[in-house]
Symmetry: none
Subunit: 403 residues, 2 copies
């Protein structure tokens, strides 16, 4: 069963709205075991919407059209579907009544053009879930089907879950379940991981039950996602478990967590397990690392707080002195964060200094008991990436020391 997505709306092409709907729909289809080979964005234009539908019907079994079901003149998805089906639009009196009632409930006068939303192509059925004034449509085209849902994310999601996914699964006769597990890693490049896992990828390509994908995700680390398809939940879990063991065997302590784990949550949990507290100093990262540490499950008890130096003089003052070697300074900052905040462990990100080829050098440090480490990182010059990479690299080193 192949289903593609057509998102309708000139505002999507102009970048005024990011098309998060198609991404969400794609994810739901994948989890339901339905293939998606293409997703298209098209503007509010009759010919081009029609061309997109014809093309999709030539290569897929089903289409989900998202958007263009509103009450205004540029909402033409209904009209184009009717034209492609070769039928007329007819007023659905029950839908018209629901729209009228909806306005009444909200104590608002219904603009007359809202009744356009009750005009549906002849012979289609409307989707039972109707959280707004736009009905969703199920439009049979021979043994294929076009679904139409509004672009309002909450309305679209309700219809997808309530009607479209079950309908697609019934049509496909698919009973298999699909699921995935993400191994979160840090310390190696994407190509490095691909090289390490090359033999396993080759084996899986030969006919395994799972596939692997890599995803570089900044401060979220480099993700290795295992996706598998199985007869039932138990079989799926068995495949994912077995694959996780194989991958951990190759990747070792590059793996810092699974699925929704973050470097922050994992490190804080390791500290919590040892009844230890954390104090942080930040200069180059300006509070970025702290904002990621705060709001984690274990942060109230473990993460005591931070000292942020916006101005270099404040940083100097903290360690009672002037310019030191960057790595030495980072070490002193970590000590200062630990002692001034009364914590067991101190972390520090020092100042950023110009590095090679437009990059930045950032000195980082941790101290814990009578041990500690400070070193320099060469990072991209882009502010966001510098902040992300220095934070995750520092935490990762502490994590490795804690385990």
């Amino acid at each position: 069963m192949r289903c593609e997505v057509i998102a309708v709306g000139t505002e999507l092409l102009l970048g005024q709205i990011v098309d998060t709907n198609s991404s969400w729909i794609g994810e739901q289809l994948a989890l339901a075991g339905i293939d998606t080979h293409y997703q298209t964005k098209v503007g509010d234009n009759t010919d081009r919407i029609a061309a997109s539908i014809e093309l999709a019907l030539s290569r897929s079994d089903a289409i989900i059209m998202c958007g263009g079901l509103g009450p205004t003149q540029d909402d033409i998805t209904r009209d184009v579907i009717a034209a492609v089906m070769g039928v007329e639009l007819v007023r659905d009196d029950m839908i018209a009544e629901r729209i009228r009632a909806m306005f009444e409930t909200r104590g608002r006068k219904m603009p007359q053009n809202n009744l356009r939303q009750a005009d549906v192509p002849e012979g289609v059925s409307t989707i039972a879930q109707m959280p707004g004034t736009a009905p969703g449509l199920v439009c049979p085209v021979g043994d294929q089907v076009i679904y139409a849902v509004p672009g309002v994310p909450s309305e679209m999601r309700t219809m997808m879950k309530g009607t479209i996914i079950p309908d697609l699964q019934a049509r496909s006769g698919e009973t298999a379940v699909i699921g995935s597990r993400v191994l979160r890693t840090w310390g190696h490049s994407e190509s490095g991981l691909a090289e390490m896992l090359g033999p396993r990828i080759a084996e899986l390509d030969e006919g395994g039950h799972a596939t692997l994908a890599f995803l570089a995700s900044g401060a979220e680390g480099l993700k290795v996602r295992v996706t598998a398809k199985a007869e039932d939940d138990a079989a799926l879990l068995a495949i994912l478990d077995a694959e996780e063991i194989l991958l951990r065997d190759v990747l070792g302590d590059l793996v810092f967590g699974l699925d929704d784990d973050t470097m922050e949550s994992v490190t804080l949990q390791l500290l919590a397990d040892k009844d230890m507290t954390l104090g942080v100093f930040e200069q180059a990262t300006g509070g970025y690392l702290s904002s990621r540490l705060a709001g984690q499950a274990a942060s109230d008890t473990v993460f005591l707080g931070s000292l942020i130096a916006g101005n270099p003089a404040l940083a100097d003052q903290l360690i009672g002195g002037g310019p030191a070697d960057p790595e030495e300074a980072a070490d002193l900052y970590a000590e200062a964060a630990r002692s001034q905040l009364g914590a067991d462990v101190g972390l520090a990100v020092g100042a950023a200094t110009p590095g090679d080829r437009g990059g930045l050098n950032v000195a980082v440090a941790w101290v814990m008991g009578d041990r500690g480490k400070s070193w320099s990182l060469s990072l991209p010059g882009d502010l966001d990436r510098m902040r992300q990479f220095s934070g995750i690299t520092l935490l990762n080193d502490l994590r490795l020391h804690l385990t």
Copy 2:
């Protein structure tokens, strides 16, 4: 000149990544006066990428392909473009050298497969900007053109601005200039702004030289974008200037800045103009506000630093006492930040407490000279939005006091 966008990557279809690149590209094309009728997402599959390119060539003058230029086996954009062009891939030695040097600079061993990125279709040129290891490509196909850029947003954007947009404009022979100006606002809802500007929007609809659009952007404020098309730069500037005056007249001090101004940059500049320094305390925002203040132009001299309390006990300790009324506590935090950091102005974001309908209440405060203000905000329960809204609201109030 019509240009369409093809985003390549199975992870996009599976919804593992939201395709923000296409939206950004669409916006840039619109601003450059280049039409986009379609945007397509396609997986890492040779036949389907090739079909997408062929289709796009049949209906557009140019294609921007985004993604699939990485070093791994599933990065096949280069290969498919070569196949469509009917040429071979050849190793570009200069690119290979740049990739090697890039790994050397970062002190990392280059995996052999990274050199795949130096293989480019015969007869194409590489894009001068190359912030990462993936070169961008300009591939002539008769009098049409295919551009290929990496999916890493920062790399893609650098290439778009540096090469692709200018090249498209040169090819299109379009001499009209399109430009826009963004008025950044805070303090009113999107529908409120639309109501205030209703009469002006109606006038422009009747046949003005400009259009208005609204864009809610979290900590970036609510943007009002004026877009206009004119014969030349001088005429464009005149239209934008005139429109800005009209809009400012209606919106008054809701407008905090223009274009790339942020609430942080504007507030820091106001403080710099008065030779004043800033110290910050954060609890609910956990360092988020500081990380936005740091890294601004004026931040080295104005933003001295912050105290971040991860643990409530640390916050209590700071003000030398136990639980106080949240607004009173926020006031004391602001005082403490000011005195302990030796600043002229103190800002504070206190703890978040449960509010109505799943939202959060956050007390905020500023102190400056012998004046100050502390009050409570009712914010959405979503952590990110709570952080964004509390930071921008607090700074906005300080801004209004400073002007």
